[in-house]
Symmetry: C2
Amino acid sequence: MRIEVICTGDEVLTGKIVNTNFSFISQKLEDFGLSVRWETTVGDDRENLLLAFRLAGQRADAVIVNGGLGPTVDDLSQEIAAQAAGVDLVLSEEWLARMQTYFQRRSRPMPPSNRKQAMLPAGAEVIDNPVGTACGFTLDIGKARFFFTPGVPREMRRMVEEQIIPRLLARSGMQTAIYLKRFHSYGIGESHADSLLAGVAELAPDRSVKLGFRAHYPQLETKLTVHGADMDDIRRKLAPVEQEVRKRLGNFILAEDDQTLEGVVLAALASRDASLTLVETFTSGQITARIAHLPGAEKIIRRGIVARGMGEVYAAVGLDGGSIAAGITRDTAEAVARSAQRHTGATHALAVLIDLDEGADRLEFAGTVCLAIATEHDVASRRSRIVGGRDWVRLGAVEMGLDCLRRYLQDLPVYERIDFEKVE
Amino acid sequence: MRIEVICTGDEVLTGKIVNTNFSFISQKLEDFGLSVRWETTVGDDRENLLLAFRLAGQRADAVIVNGGLGPTVDDLSQEIAAQAAGVDLVLSEEWLARMQTYFQRRSRPMPPSNRKQAMLPAGAEVIDNPVGTACGFTLDIGKARFFFTPGVPREMRRMVEEQIIPRLLARSGMQTAIYLKRFHSYGIGESHADSLLAGVAELAPDRSVKLGFRAHYPQLETKLTVHGADMDDIRRKLAPVEQEVRKRLGNFILAEDDQTLEGVVLAALASRDASLTLVETFTSGQITARIAHLPGAEKIIRRGIVARGMGEVYAAVGLDGGSIAAGITRDTAEAVARSAQRHTGATHALAVLIDLDEGADRLEFAGTVCLAIATEHDVASRRSRIVGGRDWVRLGAVEMGLDCLRRYLQDLPVYERIDFEKVE
């Protein structure tokens, strides 16, 4: 099945808005074994919209159109859809009633301009929008089935996930259920993971499992797309592959599916009624900012401390700087973490200290990270050198700090060699 | 002049990469008074690439193609360009020599696969790439002039700015220089700014100045695009408009052109040999993270303190909590800022305290921000209620904290009503 996407709107065409709607749609389709073959972006312009609809209608089997369903004069999707299909616009009493209920619930009168949103091409089938007034719809143009979706991301997302993908799967003749299993890791690059996981997909029968990756430094997402007759069949097919991925990626797996690293760390702390103090230098509050705003963090995050000079770090954690060796080492990090834990009365403390290269930012710019995790009776630490410019060092150190804390809380070794560090 | 853009590559088409190259190209063209009329994304696929080139060659006057110039087998742009133009691929001795020099300078042998990057359609003109091995080029396909650019963002950006825009301006017959003046503000929404600035562009003669906006909450960018015979002419035309924009946006202008809010704050502190301590609650380190990593910040940022409970905030700044009223008020914020300044010996302290609504995240979720700035002999504060969900409140409070500090350092009133707060 050849699927195309048409994105509409001057804000997208002029680059004022980065087109994240398209990447969402395409990724979501990929997750269900469907592929977009062609994407077109045009502005709020009758001539180009009509041409885009006609061309896609000649080439594709299915077309998803995004945007242009709003109440204003530059929202043209229904009008041009009707023109391209050679039908009239007619009022959908069904959608008009839905909109009136929508506004009544919010105790607001419906503006007259919204009536336009209920004008659909004759013969179109409504696609429900449970979270807005823009009416999704589907109709045939040329030889393709067109699916019209709103430009507002949360409205588009629900419509694509709940209504359009099931219809596309049905049209594609894929009489199977599909499931996406995701593993998140830190420390393994995409090509390394690809070779580590060579052959795992073949552990499932009939090519029913597909392996894929999505890298967003410093994390890597490993994806298993599974086809099956139903969820029981999927679980059965997925089980040996899932088990093997867990075995091969091992301690590097920091979270699965919708979990996040910071969420996993927070939950591990919450489960033991723990509290956490963080000490940062060049990461500048970015580690604390990842975790301290989450719901529930107010009970767990005791204190975050940022300082750029070691003297100030010592002062902030109540440590006599004269008593420890100069320079940033694992020993310094351990002393700072121990002292921060005691000084603030938290059960756990994480200190991430960074010795930065001198001079201007450049690709070879590096930092030496010394981090430590302390509890009342224990301390663990690691040292790592990260190369790749100021931002790269900072991002890497944030992730390393959180991931070492995750490893510590899960009784895993805090140190394992990662792909992003320079071995000296 | 009708301009189209064709983006190529499976990673963009499948949504693995969000297409920021396109938004960069389109915005950059807009800044120079040029407009993209149509965008197409296709994968690394001969049939679709050829069709995309042919269709754009029929419709457009100029086409920018992005991606597909690399050394690997799935990089197809030169091959399909030659096919679409009906010419052969020929070796560019000029580019081969350039690549050999490129590798020699890095003391690495040139891999044989890179030779492919010097194969260009016969008759193509080389477009220089000073930062990589992908060779840009331009040739005619159909009735359009095609410009081929690399997918690597920093290579594409330099090529578009330095080589393609001048060529497009020359082809468009715009025999003028163009200049982009930008103002960054916080606290004024786009539609409000649009009405505040009504008529300013007309202060310049001959429609030579165009007004535009780019909103990225919480900041707004106000853009003046100026056409002129040369830079002197541009300065003369821009002067009355620029002056009027400064007058109307007034204290809300926080930075201009490439400046950032955090950069302006840091420079203002540096100019008076000042030092800064920050105290945050729900913003969770995000304010400190905006400023403390910047080059030079190591001399100025004394300490950043994050705590989610007020008792812990008091402890961290050496304040006896029993001595001040319960609850988060301007008085509390002033007491915390004063104490933080004294406790850490910084010349300035900023405290941003937030009283959050109870319950789950929702659109009506709000927070009351009480912030204060203290020096040894002075204190200033403001209170504001921000509505719109947890993330919205946090982002808004980060910007408000930094912007109030900017106002304080520039001797401007710390309080002026903004569009993003709820008046009670």
